[in-house]
Amino acid sequence: MKNRLEEIRKQRGIKQDELADAMGVSRQTISSLENGRYNPSVILAIKLARFFGTNVEDIFIYEEEQNEK
C-alpha cells in the first residue's frame, strides 16, 4: 500500500515528532508509515485522516494487484 503521508505532512509544515505526539505513536512509527514499511491500523489511518482534515483514501492508496500476489 502506497501513501502520501510524507507529502501531506510536509505540505502542512509538520515535523514527524509533532505528528507522532498528536497521534500518540512513536516517531519511528510515522517514519515507517512514510517509507511504506508498515501499514497502519484502521484506527490510526482514520486518526491521521481526521488530523489532516481529509479522507483515508487521500492519504493511503490501496493497490489491489500488488496485494493479490
Binding site: G24, V25, S26, T29, Y38, P40, S41, I43, L44
Partner: protein, 135 residues
C-alpha cells in the same frame, strides 16, 4: 497504573528472593545450592526491574518515550511478529533436538522434547479456538 503494578511486582520478587535465599542459607531446605540460585535469580530480576522503574520515574524524557512505546501500535505489531517467529523457531529447534536425541539414544530427553512440541501444538489449537470465538 502499569508502572505501579510493576513496582509492586518488583517488591514481591525482591521479598521472595530474600526469603528463598534465607531458607537456603539456614539449611531448612534440601539442595540449598539450587535453591540459592533460584532465590538470587528472583532477587536480581526484582532489583533490576525496580532500578529501571526508578530511572524512568526520574527521567521525564525516558518516561514519555516508555509511555509512548507502551501504546504504540507498531511496537505491539513487532512484538507479536517476534513472538510468532520465536514460536516457529522454537518448534523447529526442539524438533531437530528431539530427532537428534532419539538417534543418539537419549530416549528420555527425546521424549521430553517431543512432549514439549505436543504441548505447544495443543496450546496453540486451544487458544486458536478460544480466540476465534472472541473475534
Amino acid at each position: 497504573m502499569k508502572s505501579n503494578r510493576l513496582f509492586y511486582i518488583s517488591i514481591i520478587e525482591i521479598a521472595a528472593g530474600v526469603i528463598i535465599d534465607l531458607l537456603a542459607f539456614s539449611g531448612i531446605v534440601a539442595d540449598s545450592d539450587v535453591i540459592t540460585g533460584i532465590g538470587s535469580g528472583i532477587l536480581a530480576v526484582g532489583l533490576v526491574q525496580l532500578l529501571r522503574l526508578v530511572r524512568i520515574e526520574h527521567n521525564p524524557e525516558l518516561k514519555k518515550y516508555v509511555e509512548t512505546a507502551s501504546k504504540d501500535e507498531r511496537y505491539a505489531f513487532i512484538s507479536m511478529k517476534a513472538k510468532e517467529a520465536a514460536f516457529a523457531v522454537y518448534i523447529m529447534l526442539v524438533g531437530v533436538l528431539c530427532i537428534g536425541w532419539m538417534l543418539l539414544g537419549y530416549r528420555e530427553e527425546g521424549m521430553l522434547a517431543a512432549m514439549s512440541i505436543c504441548l505447544l501444538a495443543f496450546l496453540y489449537a486451544v487458544l486458536f479456538r478460544v480466540l476465534a470465538r472472541k473475534y
